[in-house]
Symmetry: C2
């Protein structure tokens, strides 16, 4: 069952371990998953596992930072594209935010007490990455206020409201539910535009 | 230190235990708090403690249902008061929701993995209470759409967006922060009205 893999698979194997780990964390919870369970699910020996990750916390941290790096790569260039009006950028961000949160659901470790599981340094880095996204959204909102497309009294507060609203979706949206993902994206795009518009 | 108390204090002592428990759960986390820690903080013996609660899970469940019962008592009559226009009711609900979430912060067990700690039956009851609030909000939104004060395509979806936005506040709002609670209430009232209005 635990098929051994050679070390030269490198980054591919690393991602494979992370994928199996996030699936297990979501299924069983972080606390109930051992580093051995992860190695077994990835089809590698414990010693190969330790070549990539010293402990479970490192795997968790790698999953979170990988997701956030990919999320920033998908969103920040859109947010900072000054060739497009703020409204167009915000509309696209609502879609990307909701679709990526749904596509990569296991990596978001929904409902898991991840904050407690990370070290203080790791937590700080996680917050730093979230803040980069928050700030880029806030900057577009402020830009839209300057052009007159948007009108909010406090761009920072509007950013919190919009992001909390978008982050809430992953807690209740199910693909098997009554509304398609596109319908949800459509409704939330309208809500966000209503909050921001003049 | 652990001053004994007589059993005839009844409900007062029960609430005292719940208050100490929610403070400990928030400080140390649910998993790291023992029933003995709770008894000690409440100044009672373990045997008195067991007279009120069989185990830690029962204390947690009592805290959650007490909060939700009080929350429903403070919100549902406002939401169902058909003598006032839907906009006035929604505005008041934003304030009550935000103030009560802040006043009773320890009982909300922010960041604690409470879902996993409850039994399936207890979780169902918790969801049932949340749904009662959700449904009352949705009904006012639908009523406002019927009167023409509001205009949203899907009252259920607008309810999720509004409640996720309001629930997000307790995660970042600090009384020591740059904005007063009244300012936050003011901004969020505006956001909610913008989402809903025609």
């Amino acid at each position: 069952m635990a098929r051994k893999r050679s070390l030269d698979e490198g980054p591919v194997l690393r991602e494979r371990i992370m994928g199996q780990a996030s699936a297990l964390f979501q299924e069983r919870g972080y606390a109930a998953t051992s580093i051995r369970d992860i190695a077994e699910a990835a089809g590698i020996s414990s010693s190969t596992m330790y070549h990539y990750f010293q402990n479970k916390q490192e795997v968790l941290y790698a999953i979170i930072t990988k997701f956030m790096a990919d999320f920033l790569a998908a969103t920040v260039p859109v947010l900072q594209d000054r060739t497009r009006p703020p409204t167009a950028r915000i509309r696209e961000i609502v879609r990307v935010h909701l679709e990526m949160s749904d596509d990569r659901r296991p990596e978001l470790l929904i409902g898991n007490p991840i904050r407690y599981a990370l070290s203080p340094d790791q937590r700080r880095e996680g917050i730093h990455l979230q803040k980069a996204y928050h700030d880029a959204v806030r900057d577009v909102i402020a830009e839209g206020c300057a052009t007159g497309e948007f009108q909010v009294d406090d761009a920072g507060m509007a950013t919190m409201a919009v992001l909390d609203m978008l982050n809430g979706v992953r807690e209740w949206f199910r693909r098997s539910g009554p509304l398609s993902r596109d319908e949800v994206v459509h409704h939330y795009t309208t809500f966000v535009c209503k909050i921001l518009r003049a």
